[in-house]
Amino acid sequence: MKENDICNVVAEALGLKPGNVSVNDGTETLREWDSLGFLSILGALENKFGAQVAAIDDLASVKSVKEIIDIFKKEGII
């Protein structure tokens, strides 16, 4: 469920319909996930999951939804 939340946050941040982004998507599969689109994703994650997200340095280098999920699990956010 939480993983699906992250997919939907990413979709919404990129202006895509919920359900159009899966765990395996990322910079390779989503044209909208460019350097500027990534900023929207980071802002949307902070908005959804709280201020602690902005303090996770590793998040700045993720290239896929799966990497976000792995970091969030490691940090105990989901």
Binding site: S35, L36, F38, L42, G43, A54, A60
Partner: protein
């Protein structure tokens, strides 16, 4: 509190304008339908061949002196904030003292900071005036980042513009026109915005890391300044953030739940002019009628270093 105040601000932008259409012609693969809503920037001014940051600052300083009838002999300090100096040495401010025909009793020096530089400059100028070291300080901020940016750098070319500003800081009978200040540094971000001799003297930006830094530090900096000044967020009449880009200011506004009518945005036709961005925005706000006498304005700068700073100014009738 500091017994110093800002009395005048002017700015100068180079004549050459580069629009998003111009950039799209050179780079057909850049999708401005995706870029423009994020940056909020439609055009920027770029220096011409042989034009330097000191030229932009001198233009702004001359405007300030001429428009306000300032007696050059009364200026006793000249501070130049730039990361685009004319020379490695001598100090560019020393050469500018001569170009501006200021007295030899002028203290002149450069300091190297980026987007937080204006706040640091106000802190230094305010302290110099408050301590009696100086009576009238001219703070110049100017950048020509365009010279550092690679032609194919989509993120930086669409965001940065060149520009220069001049601000006069003088003694004030009462405190409360400038300050208090919050200043901070996190050197762990040193390589996130960098121009280094090796490998190529080009601007390298880790946009995502810098964005995370702004979401993490800027709201905290605002909150810290409010506590230091014993003010509530509702006491602030206008917020003038460093004009980084739309997406950055959008997220700061969202995190702090700010009233958009109290946030100034002036990046559309100027871009991000680094240390000159806050004084340019302040002057634009005045020209747009967004400030009135007595308004309490928060200025917040943040970026390369990482470095950040915030202060409050109480607006006087005319700048």
């Amino acid at each position: 509190m500091i017994n110093a105040k800002i009395t005048h601000i002017e700015y100068y932008l180079p004549e050459k304008i580069v629009t998003n259409e111009d950039l799209a012609k050179d780079n057909p693969d850049w999708n401005f339908k995706l870029i423009e809503p994020k940056t909020g920037i439609l055009s920027r001014h770029i220096v011409g061949e042989g034009e330097s940051a000191s030229d932009l600052a001198i233009h702004a300083a001359e405007l300030l002196i001429e428009k306000n009838g300032i007696d050059r002999s009364t200026i006793d300090a000249l501070l130049f904030c730039t990361q685009s100096p004319d020379y490695i040495l001598p100090t560019t401010a020393c050469a500018m003292q001569e170009r501006l025909k200021l007295s030899s009793g002028t203290a002149a020096f450069d300091f190297n900071l980026g987007c937080s530089g204006y706040i640091y400059g106000l802190a230094i100028a305010g302290a110099m005036v408050n301590s009696g070291i100086s009576t009238k300080v001219m703070l110049l901020c100017a950048e020509t980042y365009s010279k550092y940016i690679a032609a194919d750098d989509r993120t930086a070319r669409t965001v940065f513009g060149d520009g220069g500003s001049a601000t006069l800081i003088e003694s004030s009978e009462a405190s409360g026109a400038l300050g208090p200040f919050v200043l901070g540094t996190d050197g762990k971000g040193k390589d996130k915005i960098m121009v280094s001799a090796y490998p190529d003297e080009r601007l390298h930006i880790d946009g995502a890391a810098v964005f995370m830094f702004t979401m993490n530090k800027v709201p905290a900096c605002v909150t810290e300044l409010l506590a230091k000044a014993k003010k509530n967020i509702s006491d602030i009449d206008l917020f003038v953030f460093h004009q980084a880009s739309k997406v950055v200011i959008d997220n700061i506004v969202r995190i702090l739940s700010l009233d958009e009518s109290k946030v100034f945005r002036g990046y559309e036709d100027v871009g991000n002019t680094v240390s000159a961005s806050i004084p340019i925005a302040l002057k634009q706000a005045q020209e747009d009628g967004r400030v009135k006498k007595g308004d309490l304005i928060m200025l917040v700068g943040f970026g390369v270093g990482y470095s950040w700073g915030a202060t409050l100014i109480r607006w006087k009738e005319r700048l």
